[in-house]
Amino acid sequence: MEDVRKIKVKYMVEKDDFMRAGQASSNIKKILKKLGLDSQILRRVAIATYEAEMNIIIHSEGGFIELEIHPDKIRINVEDNGPGIKDIDLAMKAGYSTAPNKIRELGFGAGMGLPNIKRCCDEFNIKSSLGEYTRLELLIYNK
């Protein structure tokens, strides 16, 4: 049965929208702060959602971040509209990045995004299909 105590919010994230970058993750953090979540959990959610948001803005054709707050865990679903990741193992490697120079000059493209996300989560699942989507399913336990 669906857990009726869960809260769900969804944020659309536009491609190349650097002016609003961090908006979705800031809003998510504010919601969780109001709910009185532990500051360590807040920090992990903030890092994971910020990196996911930047990945959508920098690398994808746009997508969304969906937050589900359960009594015992936070679930974050991230999905974009492609172009997908060719080699996920390589993308997961710290320091590997496909970001162009223009993006690196802004301080991004360190190749830390996906590794940072994984480090912050209790469960991390990534799926990608070339030309179609990249999807992240993240779980952070609230215990």
């Binding site: 002016m19 970058a21 908006q23 953090k29 500051s39 890092i47 910020y50 930047m54 360190a110």
Partner: protein, 114 residues
Amino acid sequence: MLTVEELSNKLSLEKISGLENMDNVISGVYIGDLLSWVMANIKPGNIWITIQTNINVVAVAVLGEAACIIIAEDAEIDESTIMKSNEEGIPILRSSLSAYELAIEINKVSNGSI
């Protein structure tokens, strides 16, 4: 205890924006220009010293709960960054000193207590 206001006055920093929260209390310093790296390692209450000045530094400072941002070496700051920091209430200060020199000065004025 050292506030952003006190530090700013002691080091004669240029007060740029987000000035409503100059009473933020400082604990520690973080220096870095790679946003993901900073995001992962900055601690709440830190002063963040950087030469990055695009709008995205504000989101990193907000999410990382930095006490303030100090822009080193008089780097030019984007107008959108200034507007965003006013919106989010993250103080941005600026200095002609390098990140290294700033760190030394901060250590001096706080007597190593932050």
